[in-house]
């Protein structure tokens, strides 16, 4: 059974790119544009190995989404993947217990390695 990931990212190109990377790593992907849609999906379906969210979403921040997801689906590992590398913002997220990954030039490696750690 292929493991599924929920990716929340409103930029379609970035979502395609991330999907390509994780599908290459053997996962299948369900995508959501924003926090509300992600929560709607989780209400019906929680069969995800992990959730990967952008930091800035159209309707909320990834950090806020994390808090909602904690209540809706506490068992699914949650990770924020963002280009935002501001120390204060990253530290705040980490303090809440979020796995925060900064997008870098090795995004493929970074992402797959982190997912592996997350779901082990």
């Amino acid at each position: 059974m292929t493991k599924r990931l929920l990716i929340i990212e409103d930029d379609i190109f970035m979502r395609d790119m991330l999907s390509l990377i994780v599908e290459d790593g053997g996962f299948s992907v369900v995508g959501a544009d924003d926090g509300a849609q992600a929560l709607a999906i989780l209400q019906q379906d929680q069969d995800f190995a992990a959730i990967i969210s952008d930091l800035y979403l159209p309707d909320c921040k990834g950090v806020e989404l994390f808090q909602s997801v904690q209540q809706a689906a506490p068992a699914i590992p949650f990770m924020i993947l963002s280009g935002e590398s501001d120390d204060v913002i990253v530290a705040e997220a980490k303090q809440l217990g979020i796995v925060y990954v900064v997008k870098d030039m090795n995004v493929a490696d970074t992402l797959l390695t982190t997912i592996e750690h997350l779901i082990m």
């Binding site: 292929t2 409103d10 930029d11 379609i12 190109f13 970035m14 979502r15 395609d16 790119m17 999907s19 390509l20 990377i21 599908e23 290459d24 299948s28 992907v29 369900v30 995508g31 959501a32 544009d33 924003d34 849609q37 709607a40 999906i41 800035y56 159209p58 963002s82 280009g83 935002e84 997008k103 870098d104 030039m105 995004v107 493929a108």
Partner: protein
């Protein structure tokens, strides 16, 4: 860098290249939003500003992540200018000027990018083209080489890939026969007893006199510039060094003899006004894009599943539900979340425009559209969807369907065939002693063998058959309306052909074989059982000594057993 990683990088680059073409549209959208803010400068534009910052942040982040530092820096600088407005609550003349400069700079960077970066420079690009098997094309090759042993051997190998080969060992013989030859392509040795570039000279002379336009591929032992130059002067389409890597030659021949054009892009036009929809559909059709009109937005999911569009063009204001809501409905279906959606509207309300751009929509065009801009916006996005679909569905090495697509296909064929009571056969192929090939001749050679099997299966199976690579050295194929006995004949011929192909590796040449298991639909009650039945038959073929095909026996619908 490992091969696998290189492959992923190449695929990411392809996707990036298609994305670059969209950036001018995004920058234009940003300019429009910026103009809106300027128009509202004495009112409350904080929401617009916030959205604009997010848009720039996304472009900047994406660019930096994928190694386009300059673009990333420019976008981040533009973002900083806007944040300054946010912080100070003041839109100063200098900020306005700085921001305009940033936009110009981003445009310039993009313009330079599209000149520098050439899709074709990515060597693997050929693997990702959606291969459609041709119907009837001329597959006659004329081979001219004075080395008799070499030419007969090469002819045999080309035969294996479905090419008819007419061989000549002397230039003069070929020249005499030329008027009667109906060749799709010439393969010429460069050197003959007449001279070291006699092959090229002959082609140049004959093609000039007779006004031929037949593609020519040159073969040579010589890798020097002069030899290559001779070939180029003769109008060569390719130059291969001996010993020739057969799969590369086949790829080239396939490309040169192929007459099939890629199918047109498909666009679904959703607009409640028939006349408007027809106008846009006509505009698309006139430019080689296939369009289908849908005037009832509530049928959109059916239309997508039926038409399988590369892009959806959607009116924003429709009575039953607006485009914004409709796009959300579409995006909630996992299989559709990647389809680009372009909104069309008379809407000049910037709030709504921004909302549309920020969720789900890829672009926003105001009616009446500028035809040129409209077409380019549609085309770049449809193209990206096409590339993406290929990347997602196909295995990077073999170009065949990947494991997950194959699984879906097996399920859907099973359901269809079970319903229609038509026969269907599932086959699984596994290369024999593949690990030994990898260990002895190296992984690159191993990969080459994989590609050769893939190409053979693609060429030998019929157009409607579905072929995929489901594991490292494992392939699966589905033949609809075909009994296992019929499939047996086909695959046995592929197996015999494959066994004859000589693989060249630095450590020596060798031949390889595969085993195959076949299962009829009747062996199973569900798709998983069907797969297991074929797999058991494969296991039996392996156990009986490999290099053979076994058929799973149909017992009763409840149970299946392998035929002994």
């Amino acid at each position: 860098m490992t091969g696998k990683k290189q492959m992923l990088n190449n695929r990411m680059k392809l996707l990036w290249d298609s994305y670059v073409k969209e950036i001018p549209h995004k920058i234009r959208a940003i300019s429009v939003s910026w103009q809106t803010i300027l128009d509202m400068r004495h009112g409350d534009y904080s929401a617009n500003l916030r959205d604009l910052i997010r848009g720039l942040h996304t472009i900047g982040g994406t660019a930096s992540t994928f190694g386009h530092v300059k673009l990333g820096i420019a976008a981040h600088r533009a973002e900083r200018e806007l944040k300054l407005i946010q912080e100070t609550g003041e839109l100063s003349a200098s900020t306005e000027k700085q921001f305009a400069l940033c936009l110009v700079e981003m445009n310039n960077i993009i313009a330079a990018l599209s000149v520098d970066e050439n899709l074709d420079s990515c060597l693997d690009v050929g693997q990702y083209e959606v291969r459609t098997r041709k119907n009837v094309t001329n597959r006659t090759i004329v081979l001219v080489d004075d080395d008799e042993w070499f030419s007969s051997n090469l002819a045999l190998q080309l035969n294996c890939f479905g090419y008819e080969v007419i061989t000549f060992n002397r230039l003069q013989d070929m020249e005499e026969a030329l008027p009667t030859l109906d060749a799709a392509c010439f393969i010429m040795d460069l050197s003959f007893p007449e001279g070291i570039a006699a092959g090229a000279e002959t082609v140049r002379r004959l093609w000039a006199v007779k006004n031929y336009a037949i593609p020519v591929v040159f073969l040579s032992k010589r890798n020097d510039t002069i030899s290559r130059l001779e070939a180029v002067k003769a109008g060569s389409d390719a130059y291969f060094l001996k010993p020739v890597r057969i799969i590369e030659l086949i790829d080239k021949l396939d490309q040169l003899t192929s007459q099939s054009e890629p199918p047109p892009y498909k666009v679904l036009v959703v607009d409640d006004e028939q006349v408007v929809a027809e106008y846009h559909a006509l505009l698309l059709e006139q430019n080689g894009i296939q369009a289908r009109i849908l005037t009832n937005p509530l049928q959109v999911l059916d239309a997508i599943s039926d038409f399988n569009p590369d892009l959806i063009l959607m009116d924003l204001n429709m009575p039953k539900c607006n485009g914004y809501e409709l796009s959300k409905v579409i995006r909630q279906v996992p299989a559709y979340f990647r389809i680009p959606i372009v909104f069309l509207s008379q809407e000049t309300d910037p709030e709504l425009q921004m909302q549309a751009m920020n969720t789900g929509g890829d672009d926003f065009l105001t009616k009446p559209v500028n035809p040129e801009y409209f077409l380019s916006s549609v085309r770049v996005r449809a193209e990206r969807m096409r590339i993406l679909r290929t990347l997602m569905e196909r295995d990077g090495l073999s170009g065949l369907y990947n494991h997950s697509v194959m699984k879906e296909q097996i399920e859907s064929v099973f359901i269809q065939a079970a319903r229609s009571q038509m026969p269907a056969t599932l086959g699984i192929i596994d290369l024999d002693f593949f690990k030994k090939i990898n260990d002895t001749y190296g992984h690159i050679t191993g990969d080459m063998v994989i590609v050769i099997v893939s190409r053979l299966l693609e060429q030998r199976l019929r157009c409607g058959d579905i072929v995929g690579r489901v594991g490292g050295e494992e392939f699966a194929f589905i033949m609809q309306n075909t009994t296992p006995q019929e499939a047996y004949t086909v695959i046995e011929s592929v197996r015999c052909t494959f066994g004859k192909i000589v693989h060249e590796a630095p450590a020596g040449s060798f031949t390889a074989t595969f085993s195959c298991g076949l299962a009829a639909l009747q062996t199973a009650n569900d798709p998983a059982q069907w797969y297991d039945a074929a797999d058991s038959a494969l296991y039996k073929a392996k156990k009986q000594g490999r290099n053979r095909t076994c058929i799973a026996q149909v017992q009763r619908k409840q149970k299946y057993e392998v035929q002994l």
